[in-house]
């Protein structure tokens, strides 16, 4: 996908939010809304305008990534969700795909190619 993209990032780690914001900022056609909690995420979705995809951290307090995916899908049933996780073992990845992920980006990621990776996972 090459057009402009509006993305939502949910990660409780502010450092990661900063790095992802900077990394995706390398792609001028990407807009990122980065939030730290599920509540903020659901609020951002409700506030609109619609997102093209959501990047979700997996291990978060209160609500983990797959649970948040369920909550997000309840509002936007076909929103593509990409997990960003430091879990890298096969069965952990299988669980994420089983939860309905469009794709998984394993941390640590290369910030210089992150935008390309995200675009490759989206239609």
């Amino acid at each position: 996908m090459t057009g402009p993209l509006r993305l939502l990032l949910v990660d409780d780690d502010p450092d990661i939010r900063t790095i992802v914001t900077l990394a995706l900022g390398l792609d001028p056609a990407m807009t990122l809304v980065a939030v730290g909690t599920p509540d903020e995420a659901l609020a951002a979705i409700a506030a609109g305008p619609p997102f093209d995809a959501a990047l979700l951290d997996v291990t978060m307090p209160v609500m983990d990534g797959p649970a948040l995916l369920g909550a997000v899908r309840a509002i936007v049933p076909d929103l593509p969700v990409i997990f960003m996780t430091a879990h890298s073992r096969a069965h952990e990845l299988v669980a994420l795909y089983a939860a309905g992920a469009r794709g998984v980006i394993v941390k640590p990621f290369d910030p210089l190619t992150l935008a390309v990776q995200v675009r490759a996972l989206l239609p």
């Binding site: 790095i19 291990t59 076909d78 593509p80 996780t85 890298s88 096969a90 941390k107 490759a120 996972l121």
Partner: protein, 689 residues
């Protein structure tokens, strides 16, 4: 433990022979003794009779003398009183003649003549002619007759004496014979009795020894059964429980009596779909180990156990020995370890993501204005952060190896592409150390069945080790070649060599660390990867200094290439540029199919040509074009379309959707749905084969 041969039964025929012949022999001996005894008695009686006859003859002679004495007394005295004994003597002679038998008969004429002479002389006296009587006596006729008679009696008596002596000797002979026979029979009977007693004793002591051995064995077995901490169940081949040991009673909460003659399903309940022992534990309930089985306690709770089955052959049929080991601890430890590794790796990766990400963004920014010190410091931070990430990755790889989850693909590849990529990747580090990387490539493709990522990991590790072992200005040489009929990759350095104390355990974990400055896991992982691809990895000292690390793999020929997809296992070609999804699919389908991942159109075309998959799973949006371009080429050896499942986020035009047996949309269909669809496809394909 070797099986003991059962003791042979005693020989019935030998026993019968001895039991028959011995009494026969004894009876014959006793019979013979009886005969000898009878003969001796007869001889004794005969001797007595002869003796009696001799005595009769002497008495006869005496009676005749008495008669003659009476005659002489009469003659001398003329007194009739002297004649009184004459008549009784004569009567006595008649009686004795009758008793003398044959001898009497022979003597009778002589005696008759004597008495005729006596009667005649006595008659002369009676007539009063004493003178005539005296003349007659004086004539000596009577004396002659008497002398002849005496001789005859003496001869007869001598004959009887001789006969009596003979009979006595015969008696003694037979008597002695019968005594000897009696002794022999007695001795024989004694021997037989002794033999019987000895045999009886031996039999009794053997029986006792056997009973004691059996008792000891039974005690030992009972002690083993009672003291082992594993549950032991003895079960008939029909699945009926016969015995359970104490540990089993503790684990399951049943007493031995409660379980006796119950079905095995009481404690090992069947799961849906596999309702008998055979189905659960393999055809014929053969021996084997079945981990993670569910056992049910008396109170209805379940416990996970590892079941080992052995077969016990007995005279009354086979028994199964089921050993149940409580797997709770193992599972708990495994879960705890899994959790620890997962947490540690996650908690280390998260901050490292920030560190490495920040440094990467920093280095990408315009560094022209930075002081050279800062550039160097950022590079040092970046290198070390990446080293930490490598350590975590290596630890996860070691865990995968240990838990058997290291997935290694086997797809045809040219080893030259691996060394080329490793050379490219190592270039940056080499330059920083003022070293040269040289890749000496084989003139023709060196094909093996392997995993690009994993083999690159091996070669990269060897190159990294070589660089760390070398001094500035050195050259590290990579080489691909075919040697000894196998594909070989080698990495040469000019370093100081492997220290002597490390040589034997260099490929063990955390051993190579000091030498290489790496994580200490790289070579252990490399050895496992190479081993899993049927290869060997080693190192050798190079002539002229330095070390060569090398590994070889089986060369892939057309024949082995065809066999690479295991016979009977469906081969699925997954064309998708999302590597993680490919890996997830490989894991999710590993029990039913062999997966090949192709990232782009070119790789997919190569796999179609080399591997001939059973089914193709296709993503429409690929890095190097659209999957639609590939669809007309998805044909089998007979030119028939290969079953196609589309798994894509892109829109699928209707004419393409018609060609596919299923269309799945990423994001809408979750992994479970994708896996189930493919399993269903494979089942249908299997049914049509």
């Amino acid at each position: 433990m070797t099986a003991l041969a059962p003791p042979a039964p005693p020989s019935r025929w030998r026993f019968l022979l001895i039991a028959t012949l011995t009494p026969l022999l004894l009876a014959a001996l006793i019979g013979w003794t009886g005969v000898e005894h009878a003969r001796s008695l007869e001889a004794q009686a005969e001797a007595a009779r002869s003796f009696e006859r001799e005595r009769v003859l002497l008495l006869l002679m005496s009676a005749v003398k008495d008669a003659e004495t009476a005659q002489r007394g009469l003659l001398l005295t003329g007194d009739r009183a002297f004649l009184a004994p004459y008549a009784p003597a004569r009567a006595e002679v008649e009686r004795l003649l009758g008793a003398a038998g044959a001898a009497g008969r022979s003597l009778r004429p002589a005696i008759a003549a004597k008495f005729a002479e006596l009667d005649a002389t006595i008659a002369l006296f009676e007539r009063g002619d004493a003178a005539a009587m005296r003349r007659e006596v004086a004539s000596g006729r009577g004396k002659r007759i008497m002398d002849a008679l005496r001789d005859a009696v003496a001869a007869a008596a001598a004959a009887e004496r001789t006969r009596s002596a003979e009979r006595s000797a015969s008696f003694r002979r037979h008597r002695d014979d019968s005594y000897r026979l009696l002794e022999v029979s007695g001795a024989l009977a004694g021997l037989i009795l002794l033999g019987i007693i000895l045999a009886l004793w031996r039999s009794l002591s053997e029986r006792h020894a056997a009973a004691r051995a059996a008792h000891e064995a039974a005690t030992r077995h009972a002690a083993i059964l009672a003291s082992t901490t594993d549950t032991l169940l003895i079960v008939t081949t029909g699945g009926t429980i016969e015995t359970i040991n104490a540990a089993g009673q503790d684990l399951l909460g049943y007493s031995a009596a409660e379980l006796s003659a119950r079905d095995l399903a009481t404690v090992l309940p069947s799961r849906a779909g596999d309702d008998d022992l055979r189905a659960r534990f393999g055809a014929g309930a053969a021996r084997g180990v079945f981990p993670d089985q569910v056992a049910r306690r008396r109170d209805g709770s379940d416990v996970t156990v590892d079941v080992a089955i052995g077969v016990m052959h007995g005279p009354d049929g086979d028994r199964l020995v089921l050993s149940l080991r409580d797997a709770s601890d193992r599972l708990r430890i495994a879960r705890a370890k899994d959790e620890l590794i997962s947490t540690v790796s996650h908690e280390l990766r998260t901050p490292l993501t920030s560190v490495v990400g920040s440094l990467a963004l920093l280095r990408a920014a315009d560094a022209g204005e930075w002081p050279p010190q800062a550039v160097r410091l950022v590079a040092i931070a970046d290198n070390n952060a990446r080293r930490l990430i490598r350590l975590i990755d290596d630890m996860l790889d070691v865990d995968r190896i240990e838990s058997g989850q290291l997935t290694i693909a086997r797809k045809p590849l040219d080893l030259r592409t691996i060394t080329a990529q490793a050379t490219l990747d190592g270039e940056g580090v080499a330059q920083r150390h003022a070293m040269t990387l040289v890749d000496v490539v084989a003139p023709a493709p060196v094909m093996v069945a392997g995993d690009v990522g994993r083999l690159l990991q091996v070669v990269t590790n060897l190159v990294s080790n070589a660089i760390h072992a070398s001094a500035r200005g050195d050259t590290v040489t990579l080489r691909t070649e075919v040697a000894g009929g196998r594909a070989r990759v080698s990495v040469d350095d000019h370093g100081p060599g492997v220290p002597a104390d490390l040589r034997s355990r260099l490929f063990d974990r955390f051993q190579s660390q000091r030498a290489s400055g790496g994580t200490g896991l790289g070579l252990a992982i490399a050895r496992e990867i190479v081993r899993r691809l049927d290869g060997t990895i080693w190192f050798e000292d190079r002539a002229g200094g330095g070390t060569r690390f090398a590994f070889d793999l089986p060369l892939l020929t057309d024949a082995t290439g065809d066999a690479a997809g295991q016979a009977g296992t469906p081969l699925i070609l997954h064309v998708d540029d999302d590597h993680d999804l490919c890996e997830a699919m490989t894991v999710a389908l590993e029990d039913v199919a062999t997966m090949i991942c192709a990232k782009g159109l070119d790789a997919a075309r190569a796999d179609m040509r080399d591997r001939r998959p059973t089914l193709v799973l296709l993503d429409m949006a690929l890095g190097d074009g659209t999957g639609a371009a590939l669809i007309p080429e998805l044909l089998d050896a007979c030119g028939q379309p290969i079953p196609l499942v589309l798994l894509t986020a892109a829109d699928v035009p209707p004419e393409i959707a018609r060609r596919a047996t299923a269309v799945l949309v990423k994001g809408r269909h979750d992994l479970a749905a994708v896996v189930e669809t493919i399993r269903r496809q494979l089942r249908e394909l299997g049914a049509h084969r």
